[in-house]
């Protein structure tokens, strides 16, 4: 009774705070571009996140959008790569980009007093980037060399293989960052064309900082080459089919096995289920008290870490888990995970564990508002997914209304064992023990570079 009462008080308090945070977010229209503004006077710094509704899925081949943004600072008619880099470094300004299949984000952060030169330079780059040939060649050479060395990071290699195998035959299977073959096809002309498309795509701007940060309005309207807008068209993705194999990727010198288990989800599978799926992934692998960490690490000492995730985009979603173990116990870990999934789907969920996870997610909700930029990122994701922001405020209430039965049902839908792709990166000797779980298909890691 006491727990229920405390949870109710917490819910009311959190929801009131969340509403006031949402009220503090202003939306403006700058000549057709939607602007989301959050005033934050803590420090004399600003952050601007430019969201472009044009992702890697529109690339003619993998890696074009990534290269377009990576090499945005590689030179203009007036300035060399070094001069541009020196400009941003001198002001202590940070620029970075993030490319996904559905959208891209270009982020700029600097001291507010330097807003004018920094934003002016950003607009100049989007207008005048030339992608000089010699910088392109150097970029291609470095990118290929780095990718060839991916075998040194078994976890990153496992993620890359898992993406390709689990999303096979969907438009999302190729890595946004490109591959060894695609790098060779990158040219200056192509990147300039891609930048032109990006400039015409639909965009939104998310800004946080002191009110002076809004002075970027004039700079953006007068100097950035963003006029017309082309939106993203929706895709229909086929349902995932049953998986009958474990994909084993042998790598030299592996004394641990990296394990990835999961699948992609169609738009209809994730529709209106974001919060339920988030709860499920938290229950499974969000923190030290999650089911997987308790079963694999705490009770059995089989791994150092285990985590689960749900990532929902506009047209598709992904759910899965990641862990590792020594080679000798990799098969045991996979079997245990299968049993855990089946128990949850069969309703074997203890009330105590369930309530614990509710407390964890409801109590942890306030931390999402601590940093202005992190809060804006949440809003950006909601906007991208086409969700109402009121859903964000109501997250704690939604979680409080879930039941062990609803967790069981969503797990049954999302983690049906025969639909899950299993990838193991480790020693080739694993084939024998893994084949007791499912037939094993051995893949060459070089085919995924």
């Amino acid at each position: 009774m006491k727990i229920i009462f405390s949870l109710s008080i917490l819910l009311i308090s959190i929801q009131l705070r969340a509403n006031s945070f949402l009220d503090s977010v202003k939306r403006e229209n700058w000549n057709g571009m939607e602007v989301v503004w959050l005033e934050d006077n803590k420090f004399p710094t600003f952050t601007a996140m430019f969201y472009f509704e044009d992702g890697a899925i529109n690339d003619p081949f993998p890696g074009v959008m990534q290269a377009t943004l990576d090499q945005l600072t590689s030179g203009t008619q007036k300035e060399s790569q070094k001069e541009i880099a020196d400009f941003f470094d001198f002001y202590g300004a940070k620029i970075r980009s993030s490319v996904t299949h559905e959208y891209n984000v270009f982020t700029v952060g600097a001291l507010t007093k330097d807003l004018s030169p920094v934003m002016g330079k950003v607009c100049e780059l989007f207008k005048e980037a030339q992608y000089p040939d010699k910088e392109m060649k150097s970029y291609v050479s470095r990118s290929k060399s780095q990718l060839k060395n991916l075998v040194t990071s078994h976890a990153s290699l496992a993620d890359r293989v898992f993406r390709k195998v689990s999303l096979e035959n969907t438009p999302f299977e190729s890595p946004a960052e490109g591959n060894l073959k695609s790098f060779d096809k990158l040219t200056s002309t192509l990147l300039k064309e891609r930048l032109g498309q990006l400039n015409q795509s639909k965009k939104r701007l998310y800004i946080t900082g002191p009110s002076d940060a809004l002075k970027m309005k004039n700079i953006i309207l007068k100097q950035c080459p963003w006029i017309s807008e082309r939106g993203h068209s929706s895709l229909e993705i086929k349902k995932p089919s049953s998986q009958s194999a474990i994909y084993l990727v042998p790598v030299p010198g592996a004394n641990q096995a990296q394990i990835r288990i999961g699948r992609y989800m169609t738009k209809s599978e994730t529709k209106d289920k974001n919060d339920q799926l988030a709860f499920m992934s938290g229950y499974l692998g969000g923190g030290f008290t999650s089911k997987l960490v308790q079963e694999l690490r705490v009770k059995r000492g089989l791994t150092y870490s285990a985590g689960a995730y749900v990532s929902i985009q506009k047209d598709y979603g992904r759910t899965g888990l990641m862990t590792f173990s020594k080679n000798e116990t990799a098969a045991e870990v996979i079997s245990l995970i299968r049993d855990i999934f089946q128990d949850i789907a069969n309703g074997k969920i203890s009330e105590k564990e369930f309530k614990h996870q509710q407390g964890h997610q409801i109590g942890g909700f306030a931390f999402g508002f601590e940093e202005g930029q992190a809060f804006l990122t949440q809003l950006m994701v909601y906007d991208h997914q086409g969700r109402k922001l009121q859903e964000l405020v109501e997250f704690p209430k939604t979680i409080s209304q879930l039941t062990p039965q609803s967790l069981s049902q969503i797990s049954l839908e999302a983690l049906s064992w025969d639909k899950l792709t299993i990838v193991v990166v480790g020693d080739k000797s694993l084939e024998k023990s893994l084949s007791r779980i499912r037939p094993v298909r051995v893949l060459n890691f070089e085919d995924f570079l």
Binding site: A85, T152, Y304
Partner: protein, 449 residues
């Protein structure tokens, strides 16, 4: 409603158009209250009521440097065991209490310190202080948990060192540079020691170092100073101080940590990386030494950002020699070293590269140390400073580091002034000086025998 914070950090003086004055004239004023108990415990409280959350960090002055052969890894092993339970709250409850309320927790161990941190809703202040006091005084060290956790630590070691060429490189560097000194041991521990260390040895280690007179508590967030003072006195006031810890620290003399390498050493280690990974290191000064600030500036000028000297010599060129390169000055409590590291492309002859790198650095001492480049570094420090203090956890970490290392959180003011005073001659002098010191070039590559 505006998004105005109850400021826990007050700044002023940022209207200056001359960025040269910004570092020390940022007038970063932190509203910190100090609490000192009779048993030697120091606590710092920084109120910030923006959200109903806070961060707590407990710094213990114990790390790899305090270990002796046979019990390497004891500090880190103990860090793991601190989550396994104490007398009042029982076995494996700590994570559940913290995460069940919406909080998060973790810890880390370095050569010099062990730090525990939690981010929690305000309502949990009393409980978390009670838990921290309980485990500071009465850690269980349950035998079953101890043996299970031994396996987890061994897996973590594989993940960080044996399966990570970068981890292997860093470990080899520390072992070679600091051979025969406590910094030359592995913080996670040598495998034979991890396999043989007993519960009793860890218990003795715990009793010696986990005590109020060897700890600093930082509270940042929605916490009142009065309440914090009362609770800290109530929970920690009765815990006896360690009679042996002061002597243990006094026995660690700076001279026993000095690297003993002579001349220029060239070390090759077999690893799984197809591209050679390298580090070039020079012994320097311990944390707080005045020349350390000029060395930090030197490292940023030559090894940071896209305009850095090294990246423009080796990476952003027509035929890249490296895919990444960086420089840093590592300040430890008892010693320090300046280093350059990176990933080379296949085909680079390592001895030739080593010679070229030494020549290039020598050239940088004259060509790259300019007023403008020093100003650039200071501008970057200022924006980095603000970004690091953006969360309760960031602020707590910033204060805790200084309180533990220098015995005074206010030392940051002196540091800002020292950075601002650094001039061209200072940096040129340390640049030449560092090159005159013995050095170590170490590489990890799969082509080494």
């Amino acid at each position: 409603m505006k998004f105005w914070f109850m400021l826990f950090v007050i700044f002023s003086g940022c209207s200056s158009k001359d960025p040269a004055k910004n570092l020390s004239s940022s007038h970063l004023k932190l509203n910190v209250s100090e609490i000192k108990l009779d048993n030697g415990l120091t606590a710092l409280v920084v109120p910030n009521s923006k959200l109903p959350i806070f961060s707590i960090q407990i710094f213990y002055k114990v790390g790899g440097k305090n270990e002796v052969p046979g019990i390497t890894g004891a500090s880190h092993f103990l860090e793991h065991m601190m989550f396994k339970g104490a007398k009042k709250y029982g076995k494996n409850t700590i994570d559940f209490i913290i995460e069940g309320s919406g909080g998060s927790t973790n810890a880390y161990t370095t050569n010099d310190q062990t730090v525990y941190y939690e981010n929690l809703p305000t309502s949990e202040l009393e409980k978390i202080l009670d838990i921290e006091a309980d485990r500071m005084e009465n850690l269980l060290l349950d035998v079953d948990d101890f043996n299970k956790e031994r396996q987890v630590v061994l897996e973590e070691r594989k993940m960080r060192y044996e399966n990570s060429p970068r981890g292997q490189l860093y470990l080899e560097l520390m072992q070679s540079l600091y051979v025969g000194t406590p910094y030359g041991r592995s913080v996670i521990g040598d495998i034979p020691d991890l396999k043989s260390v007993s519960r009793e040895q860890i218990h003795q280690y715990f009793k010696k170092f986990y005590a109020p007179n060897n700890a600093v508590i930082i509270l940042a967030g929605d916490v009142s100073v009065g309440q914090a003072k009362k609770l800290i006195q109530e929970k920690f006031g009765k815990i006896p101080s360690s009679p042996s810890v002061e002597k243990a620290h006094q026995e660690l003399l700076d001279k026993d940590f000095e690297p003993k390498i002579k001349g220029h050493q060239f070390i090759s280690k077999k690893g799984e990386s197809p591209n050679p990974l390298f580090m070039l290191a020079f012994p320097t000064y311990k944390a707080g030494h005045i020349k350390g600030y000029a060395l930090d500036v030197l490292a940023t000028i030559i090894g940071s950002g896209k305009s850095g000297s090294l990246i423009n010599s080796y990476v952003l060129i027509d035929k890249p020699v490296a895919t990444s390169v960086y420089a840093a000055h590592q300040s430890l409590e008892k010693s320090g070293f300046f280093f350059i590291g990176g990933e080379l492309v296949k085909g680079v002859k390592l001895k030739e590269f080593d010679n070229d790198l030494l020549k290039k650095i020598s050239g940088y001492c004259d060509s790259e140390i300019t007023e403008r480049n020093i100003q650039k570094v200071k501008n970057n420090y200022l924006s980095g400073l603000y970004s690091g203090l953006d969360t309760n956890a960031g602020l707590a970490s910033f204060l805790g580091e200084r309180q533990l290392l220098f015995g005074d959180w206010k030392f940051y003011k002196e540091e800002l002034e020292l950075y601002e005073k650094v001039n061209v001659e200072d940096v040129k002098n340390v640049c030449r000086e560092v090159l005159s010191k013995p050095s170590l070039f170490i590489s990890v590559w799969n082509m080494h025998k």
